[in-house]
């Protein structure tokens, strides 16, 4: 993360204006910062590292699956590969990614506050995250985990002889960083909105994060206690999850999914928030049906808690409970449907730009639709009996998590990059990478739907020949995807030093975060802004009232904006 800082020189072109980056220098100024923007960058650094690690695991998985006989690694190793891939990607990349990086950076800017309500707690949450991460990494180095990211008992408590406790504690600790982030967001959004920033003038990004925080607060503690019990049970060889001690494995599944289904909405809601921003801003239109999009986020957060049992249709759960959970799973799909349709309608009669972030947004809508609709396959009881624990599941959740959230995250990074670093990314490369990623992604995961229905079980190291062709396609796609993801990695870092200086408002947008300079000063705004405009209220750019100081060069300097 420090490197991020070092890579940012004082900008000669900028009149010697102080911003949050050049105000102080040195390791200490970063590790002890209470500035939400710097903490956001700390998260950006650590989250990216974990993503790379998770991605490398993914590539190893794909390479192994090139051939039916497991000849690259042993079964034991393979099991560790997908377990660690899952744990890292979910708990240490995707869940913190958007909230802790972009949410941290932008929510105060968007509501016109000087900082989050509890800056110290915000920093603490990053340290907790790091501690949890290191503990889990330790587990991986020490010998790894092989329980699957779902830690099903009694395998995880009694039979697995891998570092379950270490990894578990890592996740347990990491959970509290989520809780603190959520707590901070809720309080901030309630108490620190600028004068005139009413609830219905909030950008939808903020609404989405409010909904996400609800899940953080109400779901994460249950995971925490569950993992704690699991760890103790494994330690003391007595407990409530292993039938050998009189316990009940289904209870573990209930407790685990009570958190982990809502968690999937933790992963997608912030992404949806970003998409709402991108769609509205890059077509210069107020979002279609603002209140519906806003409240659908809350609806998802609430109803998302009522459906966890759909992961347990074949587990021995009561069939009647299965009915209820299935019904509610279909119900919770509707708010997502509402979002998709409103995004589409927003484009109608807009002025649509083809800038990179918009490409990601469009990709998101398409892929999330497929991912979501295939979720309905799994919510349909009779069909899930055949599909569960096959590659259909794997395909489903990669469509929503990678094709959905990951694309949204990348779109968001491109979109706010100028605000974060004060530099533009190379537009041409941006568009090209987006294309490669889109193609690579579909080639990777679409074949897995077919594999799944043909009966290829997940978490299989060795498989029978008839599945090979599709697996090879998938692996080919994965390497394209990998290369595609490599590009932003490279040109983002490159742009921090060599990118074109960004104007305060390069996209010509009304949002509050664009009405202060790029990068913003530590206090965000020179004076507390008074909000007099509605969300996404577009006016001819020159009429945009400006709060705070701007960088001297403020003409449209972006290829995507040239006529």
């Amino acid at each position: 993360m420090e490197t991020t800082a070092a890579a940012l020189p004082i900008e000669p072109l900028e009149t010697s204006r102080v911003n949050y980056l050049n105000q102080e220098y040195g390791l200490k100024s970063w590790l002890l910062t209470k500035d939400h923007k710097r903490i956001g960058l700390l998260y950006l650094g650590s989250v990216s590292l974990f993503f790379l690690l998770g991605g490398i695991y993914a590539m190893l998985i794909r390479i192994e699956l090139l051939t039916p006989q497991g000849d690259l690694v042993q079964s034991h190793t393979y099991n560790k590969l997908f377990t660690q891939h899952g744990i890292i990607m979910v708990f240490f990349f995707l869940i913190p990614s958007i909230p802790a990086v972009l949410g941290n950076f932008l929510i105060p800017l968007m509501i016109g506050a000087k900082d989050l309500a509890f800056p110290r707690i915000n920093l603490l949450s990053w340290y907790i995250y790091t501690a949890g991460g290191l503990l889990t990494l330790w587990a991986l180095v020490a010998g790894g985990v092989d329980t699957g990211w779902t830690f099903y008992t009694p395998f995880s408590t009694t039979f697995s002889n891998s570092y379950v406790i270490l990894a578990g504690l890592g996740i347990f600790i990491n959970g509290f960083s989520s809780i603190l982030t959520g707590l901070n967001f809720i309080v901030t959004i309630h108490t620190m909105r600028a004068p005139g920033m009413t609830w219905f003038r909030l950008p939808l990004f903020v609404w989405a994060h409010y909904a996400t925080s609800i899940i953080f607060i109400l779901g994460t503690p249950v995971l925490a206690i569950t993992i704690l019990l699991l760890a103790f049970e494994r330690l003391a060889h007595v407990g409530i999850f292993d039938p050998a001690y009189g316990g009940d494995p289904i209870l573990f599944q209930h407790l685990f999914w009570f958190y982990s289904h809502p968690a999937v909405y933790i992963m997608v809601l912030p992404g949806m928030g970003i998409i709402s921003e991108l769609i509205a801003n890059f077509s210069r239109k107020n979002i279609f049906g603002y209140t519906f999009v806003a409240f659908s986020s809350i609806a998802i957060a609430v109803f998302g808690f009522l459906v966890w049992g759909h992961h347990m249709f074949v587990s021995g759960q009561s069939v009647y409970a299965g009915m209820i959970f299935s019904f509610l799973s279909f119900a919770v799909a509707i708010p997502s449907a509402i979002k998709v349709f409103n995004w589409t309608a927003t484009l109608f009669k807009g002025s649509i730009s083809y800038a990179t972030p918009m490409l990601y947004a469009l990709g998101f809508i398409g892929l999330f639709t497929i991912g979501g609709m295939t979720g309905l396959f799994l919510a349909a009881l009779g069909l899930d009996v055949h599909l569960t624990d096959t590659y259909f599941i794997v395909a489903h959740f990669h469509y929503v998590m990678v094709g959905g959230t990951l694309l949204a995250y990348l779109g968001g990074l491109h979109y706010w990059w100028p605000k974060i670093t004060g530099r533009m990314y190379p537009e041409g490369w941006g568009r090209f990478a987006a294309l490669v990623i889109f193609v690579g992604f579909n080639l990777t995961f679409f074949p897995q739907f077919l594999l799944g229905y043909m009966g290829m079980p997940r978490r299989y190291h060795v498989y029978s020949e008839e599945f090979q062709v599709l697996h090879v396609m998938s692996t080919a796609g994965a390497s394209i995807l990998g290369v595609g993801l490599l590009m932003p990695l490279v040109y983002f870092i490159w742009s921090m030093r060599y990118g074109r200086i960004a104007a305060a408002n390069p996209w010509r947008l009304p949002g509050l975060e664009w009405r202060t300079s790029s990068p913003p000063p530590t206090e965000n705004f020179e004076t507390t802004p008074i909000v007099t405009w509605e969300a996404y209220e577009f006016a001819p750019p020159e009429e945009l009232e400006v709060v705070g100081k701007l960088s001297p060069r403020d003409e449209p300097d972006h290829p995507a904006l040239q006529p």
């Binding site: 309500a117 800056p119 309080v187 909105r193 607060i217 503690p221 206690i225 019990l229 209870l251």
Partner: protein, 231 residues
């Protein structure tokens, strides 16, 4: 709440006012909402355990009755009283903080702390007894009374998990109290600024509530069935 910004010239420049808040009122509100949200998180945290308790109690009624009859309800009862009293003293400490009376404030905080310690000491004795009787789940666990030993062991497993986590919360609370007493002694808290006392109070009362449920659930349910190895 946005309103608090508009009339945002109140106790500006108060030494306890953080730079990013407009005024103490806003700061205090943020604090209390924050604490409440945190307590909700705590509810769900303990909730998982209560759920496990409910399910296994329903699964193994005899074993649970027998096991819980074996606990010493006198100690549990005394501890309940101790905690309730400590809640009152805590509430009074907050009261004197609000009314800006330093000495009684410090005094009641101190009493609260003592009561908290009493609770832990009694609990420690209880634990020691259980260890001696080989009732701590694990290799050394022994059960001769009624009920399937495995199921009795599950009761004790849940008992130690719940009371243990509760005790942990008490210890954290005591830490906060020490810090409060010191700064209250220095006269840090005034009628316009005493959020820390207030928030610690909320936390302390919450821990009390948890125990209000633990006492009957762990110590009393099943007393009416004279069956089981209680003495």
């Amino acid at each position: 709440m946005a309103a608090t910004h508009v009339e945002n010239h109140g106790a500006h420049g108060h030494k306890a006012l953080a730079h990013h808040f407009d005024n103490l009122e806003q700061q205090r509100e943020a604090g209390s909402i924050g604490m409440w949200v945190f307590l909700v998180q705590e509810i769900m945290f303990f909730g998982g355990l209560f759920l496990a308790y409910a399910i296994f109690r329903a699964k193994f009624p005899e074993a649970f009755a027998a096991a819980s009859n074996h606990l010493d309800w006198h100690l549990g009862g005394i501890n309940t009283v101790v905690l309730i009293v400590s809640s009152v003293t805590m509430a009074l400490a907050v009261y004197y903080a609000q009314t800006g009376k330093r000495r009684p404030q410090v005094g009641f905080l101190f009493v609260t702390m003592l009561l908290g310690m009493t609770f832990l000491v009694i609990k420690a004795f209880e634990y020691a007894e259980k260890f001696r009787d080989h009732l701590f789940p694990g290799a050394s666990f022994q059960w001769t009374g009624h009920g399937d030993p495995n199921q009795v062991q599950i009761f004790y497993w849940i008992y130690f998990a719940m009371t243990g986590l509760h005790a942990l919360h008490m210890i954290i609370g005591l830490g906060l109290l020490v810090w409060l007493i010191l700064s209250a002694w220095k006269g840090r808290y005034t009628p316009e600024y005493h959020a820390p006392v207030e928030l610690t109070g909320l936390y302390w009362h919450f821990v009390d509530i948890i125990w209000i449920f633990l006492f009957p659930l762990l110590y009393l349910l099943g007393r009416h069935l004279e069956a089981g190895g209680g003495h």
